[in-house]
Symmetry: C2
Subunit: 151 residues, 2 copies
Amino acid sequence: MEISGPASTREHPAAHVTGALERLTRFLVRLGPRGDLSLTAVGTLGTLERSGPCRLTELAAHEGVTQPAMTQLVSRLQESGLVTRTSDPDDKRVVQVRITDAGRAALAGRRETRAAMLAELLDQLSEDERASLVAAVPAIDRLTHLAPEDR
Amino acid sequence: MEISGPASTREHPAAHVTGALERLTRFLVRLGPRGDLSLTAVGTLGTLERSGPCRLTELAAHEGVTQPAMTQLVSRLQESGLVTRTSDPDDKRVVQVRITDAGRAALAGRRETRAAMLAELLDQLSEDERASLVAAVPAIDRLTHLAPEDR
DNA sequence: CATGCTTATATCACCACATTATGTATCCGT
DNA sequence: ACGGATACATAATGTGGTGATATAAGCATG
């Protein structure tokens, strides 16, 4: 039994963490206000808010869905008034998608709702447990920014 | 500004943790082997493995989906040979759903796959980051077992 | 012990969101 | 100016969800 493989440092943690993250995922997905925006919609709006207007194809790649899926999503978001489609004057093929004030508001509202729900749950944890979650946030952020193109 | 409300201890952590968990959720959902079992299917199989045979309605409530959705899911799982439907002799209305060996195997296989994928990503983190995730596992487990009936 | 409410599941019609394959318009290099 | 590449839209399809409603079994009661 080797002390440390070149890549996988002891597999116990991975299995352990994986199980927890699986359960967490299902838990968080089910937590949401049911009739609301899809996960991809939230991600897309977030990207638009963070990085400004963006072409449709870039958005699709960034959110990890196909271009047609993004076309449909943007259409729905546009109908709901959360984004606008404006065609680029320089290249009339491209569509610039831009978040609207209503979109920002929807995003903020959702965040507030979810934060409130989570806060309520976090309150039921011990001080130590909360602290351990807060301490894990940087690692979680690193994790979510890893491997953006290996898929 | 009160030092501690009766319920919500400082809201900074909640907002902070919420954002991270939102991103994590999208990340993990998109990580999965695409053509595989749905999130609800995995949850259901997991519940059956953990708690033994269960009525359909209980399963639906436990997984947070409607009864028709669970009826459909169980039908699909049954067709795939991952569960069995047996009608309760005491109350002929109820259906007992039971996981099969194939179901357990599917679950184990999936876990292995995901653990491997995650292990690969965890390897890209620093030792400290990994440690912080491992340390957060108990809190995550507590969290996911909270509020099972408040919805 | 028949009538009627409740409970457990199934079925139906529909919708949201994704995929692949393909169409259409625009740009660009030779 | 033509031909291929690029950006987006459209079409056909699949999966997994919802609410409304049907069916059938249990249960309570007059």
